[in-house]
């Protein structure tokens, strides 16, 4: 492996070059900004070439390969502390690199069409390349500090891209919110790094993983919990998940790339990376699993009530990330990474599909304006849609494929990964804290049902039935003639991602499915691939139980789909929602108000902090600190006021002084 590891810095540096090219030329030259094909082409290539390099490495590597590291230079050296800019190539980091650059390149290509009308085209692609650079630093770093650099870098790019249309106050606020929530997590992550350094004396993953025995159980729990808090910030878990739904203010390709496929999975990556460390404390694992399961079910219930097409997808993302954390907490690191990969495929497809829909709805609004009708409607609101399958056939088909994939119907990608998570959670129910894990498994099963339900609610509400906008707005009569499918550059990407959503699951076929017929089997490619880098819990279930669980999860997904179909097929979106609301009463209200978590933070943390600052800190600052400084200044001023009368400012009076002095000296010389 060592022979190829020198390629890794290139993988990281090419996107940086793309960022500098587009960023610097765009800053300095107005005519360059109009060269949209050049800008988009360079940016896409700057991600695609690293993908090809990663693919080459993938074929050169086997699951047996030892991890290799390459160090570019010493970054920081202080006393006994040194950190290199160094990269680590192993099965786990290469898998993440493939996902980041592969899905990233597709989304860049899609964005050329999606962003073509935007003034900040060059800036958008510069930021996207910068994001890829930061993300690759995160996944390829061989030490925690470089990982943290990438960690902060993706946070920055996320902020820049959520607030891409910064002239809209709400969008700029959403960007700030995302940044601040991430900071809370980052703070915990930093403290965890300090503690690890104090105990191990190094931040290199090699040393940390080799030194797991140096930690006491309490230290493992404390440090693990701090890392977990960091991960909940980045990966949008309880208690820090509320920024992700707001982050949808950014352009849709950003939502697909950063807030669905890559950045939000970095928390899962970090915990997988440190799996031998986390495995030492069953309490810590339980905490991870509990957070995951609760996030999954809470986000899923909120998703049931949303009408904004991107908001449903956002809560769905939070929910799926919860599944991944549940897998991590159950010791199923392979399953978690598997879900990261398949989720990247189908969620990117869903987001880009929603982008295609929003694109079409925007077009309708513009055309109506051209007609001289001053209509305003929310182009992301499902209630204004319906019946779009006639007008956007490619978008519809790919969206449907991805929806089936996320719902968990075999043999699409989501089924395999989600089923593996459910199996592994049930498996964890056989070990320490078994009863709790069984409870979490039940919650996950309910969540799986809801996932299928709300995703089909979304698909049916958007694409089936009749186009509802003309019924809602009298002025928009006949608006359906303006609906049109997106250009080929966009739909081709949708089809590629839909294809991956279909076949992506076959990299992780559970061994028992084949083993039932052949005795033993070794078909789970992903599990073999990650064997050396993650430390999975032992699977102890019998084949019969596994089959039972597998059918259970298919049945649950199928029920969800059937329910959704019966409720939402044929323009009953709002009527059925009203029925659900009536049925669940107060509970539905809680879901609809998003558990009031934003309000709780607002009332419990933000406003008390502001009030404390206003009444105590501001007063102390003005009276105490400023008062002392002003007192010193006033004293100096007073002394100066007295002393200034000695300085007349008239040259001649000074000359008198000199002459008198000279006479005095002469007298002293003469008459002494």
């Amino acid at each position: 492996m060592d022979a190829y590891v020198h390629l890794v810095p290139w993988i990281v540096l090419i996107p940086l070059a793309g960022f500098l090219f587009n960023g610097l030329l765009g800053l300095s030259s107005g005519s360059f900004r109009e060269q949209k094909n050049l800008i988009g082409g360079v940016a896409t290539l700057a991600v695609f070439i690293p993908f090809l390099l990663a693919l080459w490495l993938f074929f050169m590597m086997s699951s047996e390969s030892e991890a290799a590291t390459v160090s570019l230079f010493t970054w920081i050296e202080a006393g006994s502390f040194t950190t290199d800019i160094g990269y680590r190539l192993d099965q786990l980091s290469l898998l993440m690199t493939l996902v980041v650059t592969g899905v990233g390149a597709l989304i860049h290509f899609y964005a050329i069409g999606y962003m073509s009308g935007d003034e900040g085209f060059w800036k958008f692609f510069a930021f996207m390349n910068l994001f890829i650079f930061a993300m690759l630093n995160l996944v390829l770093a061989d030490n925690m500090l470089l990982l943290f650099l990438g960690w902060e870098g993706v946070g920055l790019c996320s902020y820049l891209l959520i607030g891409f249309w910064y002239s809209d106050m709400a969008k700029s606020d959403a960007a700030k919110k995302a940044f601040l929530y991430n900071r809370v997590g980052d703070f915990a992550f930093l403290i965890a790094m300090f503690m690890i350094f104090q105990i191990v004396g190094s931040l290199r993953f090699e040393d940390i993983l080799a030194g797991t025995t140096l930690f006491t159980t309490d230290q493992v729990f404390l440090i693990g919990a701090l890392i977990l808090i960091g991960a909940t910030g980045k990966s949008a878990q309880i208690p820090l998940f509320v920024w992700l739904p707001d982050a949808m203010a950014g352009p849709t390709p950003v939502s697909a790339l950063i807030h669905a496929a890559t950045m939000v999975t970095s928390g899962i990556y970090v915990i997988s990376r440190l799996s031998p460390f986390f495995m030492q404390s069953p309490e810590l694992m339980l905490l991870v699993a509990v957070i995951g399961a609760f996030t999954a079910i809470i986000a899923a219930t909120i998703a049931l009530t949303r009408y904004d097409i991107k908001a449903v997808l956002a809560y769905s993302t939070v929910s799926q990330l919860g599944f991944m954390f549940l897998a991590l907490g159950s010791g199923a690191y392979v399953a978690a990474m598997f879900h990261v990969v398949t989720h990247a495929f189908f969620k990117a497809c869903l987001f880009l599909g929603s982008g295609s829909v929003i694109h079409a709805m925007h077009h309708v609004e513009h055309k109506l304006h051209d007609e001289g009708k001053h209509v305003h409607f929310d182009p992301q609101d499902m209630r204004n849609m319906g019946g779009l399958r006639k007008y956007l056939p490619d978008t519809y088909k790919t969206f449907l494929i991805a929806t089936i994939a996320i719902a968990g119907i075999p043999p699409l990608a989501g089924f395999f990964s989600k089923d593996e998570i459910l199996v592994m959670t049930f498996n964890a129910g056989m070990g320490t804290y078994g009863a709790v894990y069984i409870g979490l498994w039940a919650m996950a099963l309910i969540t799986a049902f809801m996932t299928a339900f709300y995703m089909f609610r979304l698909t049916l509400g958007t694409f089936h039935g009749e186009f509802r906008l003309p019924q809602k707005l009298a002025e928009a009569k006949g608006a359906e003639k303006y609906l049109h499918e997106s250009p080929f550059t966009m739909t081709s990407v949708l089809w590629v991602l839909a294809g991956l959503s279909i076949v992506g699951g076959f990299i992780g076929i559970p061994n028992f499915v084949v083993a039932t017929f052949t005795g033993t089997a070794d078909v789970n490619l992903l599990s073999n691939w990650l064997d050396k880098t993650t430390m999975d819990a032992e699977l102890t279930l019998s084949k019969l139980v596994e089959w039972f669980l597998l059918f259970g999860s298919v049945l649950v997904a199928a029920f969800g789909i059937i329910f959704a179909y019966r409720l939402f097929e044929g323009d009953q979106l709002e009527a059925s929602d009203a029925r659900i609301s009536e049925r669940f009463g107060a509970l539905y209200q809680v879901w609809n108000e998003k558990y009031k978590i934003d309000e709780i933070y607002e009332g419990g943390i933000v406003r008390p902090t502001v009030r404390f600052s206003d009444r105590v800190l501001a007063v102390f600052d003005m009276k105490g600190i400023d008062g002392f400084v002003n007192f010193v200044a006033a004293m100096v001023r007073f002394a100066g006021g007295v002393a200034r009368y000695f300085q007349t400012g008239l040259i001649q009076s000074y000359a008198y002084g000199i002459v008198l002095g000279v006479i005095l000296v002469i007298f002293m010389l003469l008459f002494r």
């Binding site: 200034r644 300085q647 007349t648 400012g649 008239l650 001649q652 000359a655 002459v659």
Partner: protein, 99 residues
């Protein structure tokens, strides 16, 4: 004692210069008085040089005269510049930086 006369003249010139610098308000007059003080010192140097038969004093005076010429040019230029800005060369009125 011829030296007494030379030194006496020098002392008288120097005193006139000092009194002029200290009492007059016109910058040009002050400037001229300063020149007077300088030249009275030159006179002293030359007289001692002649008295002691040492040529160094006279050479030093030549240097002093050269420097004085340059200094006079710069000084007058400054006074003219001040006049252009303030329309006066009264030193008591040139007090922009005074409290």
């Amino acid at each position: 004692m011829e030296m007494d006369w030379y030194l006496g003249l020098s002392a008288v010139l120097f005193t006139i210069g000092v009194i002029g610098v200290l009492t007059r308000k016109n910058a040009i007059v002050i400037f001229m008085c300063a020149e007077l003080m300088l030249n009275s010192v030159n006179l002293t140097l030359v007289s001692f040089s002649a008295q002691l038969g040492d040529v160094h004093g006279q050479i030093l005076v030549f240097f002093a005269l050269c420097v004085a010429a340059a200094e006079a040019a710069v000084g007058l230029a400054i006074i003219i510049a001040i006049y252009r800005n303030n329309l006066t060369v009264d030193v008591t009125k040139i007090n922009l930086l005074r409290w």
